[in-house]
Symmetry: D2
Subunit: 333 residues, 4 copies
């Protein structure tokens, strides 16, 4: 067993940079290469991380020194990048979602389902203690069977302005909830009614808000809300709520306030102290836990807790949500 893993990061946008910073702090990871198409960003990343750089991921994935990669590319490039990474036998952490199109997701599921390296998709809430504690309570039977649940993942309008044309609300935001709800339900999603509205983002042809009511084969109902047009000055980065009502108990997540608050001339802020945060000069949090778990999977030869099937199932629900919105009625998943 080799304890040291040589890692490359593909895509040095905002999230890719965070992956790279987390890898850099891990004492048994060598961040050996980064890949970024933009010359400016690539130069900047090289300055920060001081490792080999590539402009094209195809070339980087052919580099035999690299054991494992984080793929943090735009959604429409996920399929090709994963196909090449699989051909090159890399351990793969792919940022969510699996793919932009359902057909691509299906194809990716086929080539990764029996892959003998680590393949995982970046649903970081699986590594958030609040959500994993509820999974555990469900598995241990404390909450009984799920009757229904409500969840919310709302954020300021600053976010979608960065993604104009690149992603939409169901695919970018709601998919986080879809993933953990499927994980909790242990039952197939069968029907979806969804409704959206576009006011503030209408000019960009994007949804302001989506409500989706998903019915599972076991009868359980999940009502999901995603909205990314909260005011710019919202103190909370992500207003992330969950209420799960079971036959024997209830569980709640509320992250409107993550335990630390600031009021100063500069801001009224309830900053994220969960997903990724900087503490004592290092980046930690759920994403860091996910990357540690990925590296542990690589070193120990184990599989991720997030399976290709699950990543594909999340995409199927997103697809049903979009169809229901378009057709104006409840649809089959």
């Amino acid at each position: 067993m080799n304890h040291v893993v040589k890692v490359g990061v593909i895509g040095l946008g905002q999230m890719g940079q965070i992956h790279a910073r987390i890898y850099r702090k891990m004492s048994n990871v060598d961040l050996v290469a980064i890949c970024e198409y933009s010359d400016e960003r690539r130069a900047k990343a090289q300055e920060e991380f001081g490792c080999k750089t590539y402009k094209h991921y195809k070339e980087m994935l052919a580099d035999p020194e690299i054991d494992a990669v984080s793929i943090v590319l735009p959604d429409n490039l996920h399929r090709e990048a994963v196909e090449i990474a699989v051909q090159n036998k890399k351990h793969i952490l792919l940022e969510k979602p699996l793919a932009k199109e359902l057909a691509d997701g299906k194809a990716m599921y086929e080539i990764t389902k029996d892959y003998d390296k680590v393949f995982t998709v970046g649903f970081l809430l699986r590594f958030d203690p609040r959500f994993s504690m509820i999974k555990r309570a469900l598995d241990e039977g404390e909450l009984g069977d799920i009757i229904h649940l409500y969840c919310r993942r709302n954020s300021p309008i600053i976010g979608p302005r960065r993604y104009i044309g690149a992603s939409d609300l169901s695919m970018h935001v709601m998919i986080h909830d879809i993933d953990y709800i499927n994980w909790y339900m242990q039952s197939e999603p069968v029907k979806v009614f969804a409704k959206s509205r576009s006011v503030l983002l209408k000019e960009h042809d994007m949804d302001d808000v989506i409500y989706a009511i998903v019915t599972y084969a076991n009868g359980a109902i999940a009502c999901m809300e995603a909205c990314w047009v909260l005011p710019e000055n919202s103190p909370t980065t992500i207003d992330d709520k969950l209420e799960l009502v079971g036959t024997k108990g209830v569980a709640y997540v509320d992250s409107c306030d993550n335990g630390v608050r600031f009021v100063s001339d500069k801001r009224i802020a309830y900053p994220d102290s969960r997903h990724w945060y900087e503490a004592n000069g290092e980046t930690s949090g759920d994403l860091s836990e996910q990357l540690y778990a990925f590296i542990n999977n690589v070193v120990s030869g184990t599989k991720s807790i997030i399976t290709p099937k699950e990543a594909y199932d999340s995409l199927r629900v997103v697809d049903a949500i979009e169809r229901s919105i378009a057709e104006g009625k409840e649809v089959e998943v």
Copy 2:
């Protein structure tokens, strides 16, 4: 640079077990030995961790295979264990407090202040994002100068019943706050007025509650509360609050609700999802971050952010609190 660190844990009580479980999940740590005086606990730990075991820490510390140790012994054994560990050139993570007696703390400070291996003391709130974000805001000047702060660290009566005769409230609980407050203040504590009361723990000659008002050289005031007689059925494990008022802004920590809640037949609980928690079968949280930082210090040859001087200074404030309570008046630190 050797990426793999061989670690031993000394003392397999509740906390020592958690140290061992965290080391076990780290892919570049080999948990090679544990030390536990109780035959029963030692046998149990060997079964769980499957490594070498020692009954006496003196013997374990002489083992040349071991690079680094966590010392999780009763407070009165800290001095001897550290002295032997230093003689054996081990990297050392010592659980707080530095020592039970001020004189011991002074002696330990002297032998560790210029130690050329890692020496750190387990003040895990330094690795809690809520507290470290406030440190950063202070360092960046966002909050201005500290005018005053209030903090609370209260918990159910279940805790002290485990520590009867072994530790007291100022030393066991309040010292966490003293450490980070000193870290924030960047000024010497000069005067302390403290008041305690003993009702529910009177028979054990322990304090129920302590209030301490500490005045710093820069004029700032810190009012601390520690109480460990909350009802057994308190939903919150630790009611941990901080309010810091600066000349340019304020900051708050509130951990009464850590973002996840359960109501079931078995419990109404707002479980700890910060200090140490189990998620997906692994133990994570602030303590895990602290141990990762310790290992990173060992691998990279750097120093801990917690210095021997700081660990000793916390002890000096505890000593002043106890003197003020005994004398019924404000005392010098």
Copy 3:
């Protein structure tokens, strides 16, 4: 202008008793009569309130001494009681809902719309400062136009067990939210998709939970949740939440914690300190404010802020929710 109002209360169940207690504390109200069909309850009420009693409301309503009445009867008796009260020219406060059946509600709307005495329906959230402050912010334009809102009104299973056969979730609980949402929207509700589930209350043929998505003529979406099967030991009596997202701002109500909490041997409770509560031996809160407003309307000859049209419109939405659940698809209001 006569400052003293002579009041009668019809129906001395749980809510009727609270009405009577509130009237009793008002120094310009004489509680002159109570009406209760159950001999046992009537005797008990007479002992508590020491006024005239009636078994049949028809007789009480014929009493010329009485100026104003609170009607706190089962829903199916509302129509007849109001008709007789109108014939007798009483000022009327009718507990919600207007009626059990839409046709009855229509008829009642017709006879009260031009009534020259006070007629109001007990939607006490109109008198809750949290909800009325949001109304004011909407009226003043601070929040812009409503894009969407989510609300929740969930409570422990203790409640529905009292109403077996007498009322259902949409009519009894959700109607509170329907009323204030209609008030906020200033637009006609046009379409409803609703979904319910029955697990714990299946044997009683009652819903555990309802989700309803209401679309208004102005395009705004309201997603409502009502669930009354929370665990019996839920610390919160009513988990009442509102999130309203407007084009210029957002507003939230959260009453999970109403500002006061108890943990003792007897309970972990976040008691209601809003709707009706006892303080210093008197019953106060939103309901008390509503009754004060009713008496002020009577004395000053003004109309209630709750109109017959609004009470009828709430019933129309309840009716659409029930039709959508039955038909399994979105329906017109």
Copy 4:
């Protein structure tokens, strides 16, 4: 028994105006007169309230038409105004504190202790359901004996800037807590250690913050914090907290968030929805409850729950706090 009470308000500053507005909405109160020394304010008040006006309270108190008065004058005028009101046999609601000087308070206590009209002092938290519910739980024995309590009453720096030279922190703010703590304790305050600091208000010779530790005859400890230099943009008007630890249970008040929140271009605000608030065009809340209780006392010939002795005792604790700050040591009350 005359149900209609003729009321006058003396002092039409911010608080006096609120008194007047509340009286105006009461259907059995006639607001017959207001008194205001400032010509400008008096003219404005006459326009709003349309009743008789007086420049000098001595003249108004001689008006035989008036049954009852609210005295809302600067603290240093309280004694004289109460003396004249007593001579004129008025029912009196005096805004807190009883007096500015302990000697004045003593004299006022003497003339009001056996007064045969209503005399009460405006400690509105007695009428706040959160605080009165805790009083009830204490009286019923649910919480056992008080071991200790902590309370906080902090607010933005906007407040003290209005009171420059007129009042100080202990007298203006902390006295609210002193009143209800004495009410809870049912034991004499015997010793006080207090510490203050002045930074942002130093130029005005006012305290920024005070901590006071009060020891009661029964051994219970109360730690109080008052600070009125929070940032101007604090979302919370009053950060009002209470933690009470008893031998059988604990109770908490937290009003940092009063159940309703706004985020808009204009503000991030958690407005007061307790002390006094406007809803549907009327002013309601704790202060309104207090005025209703005052009128009920007047009409029914009963006494207020706030006694002259209690009002004087609060002043004695304020005096001890100021002495402890001045002397730098614990003092006797």
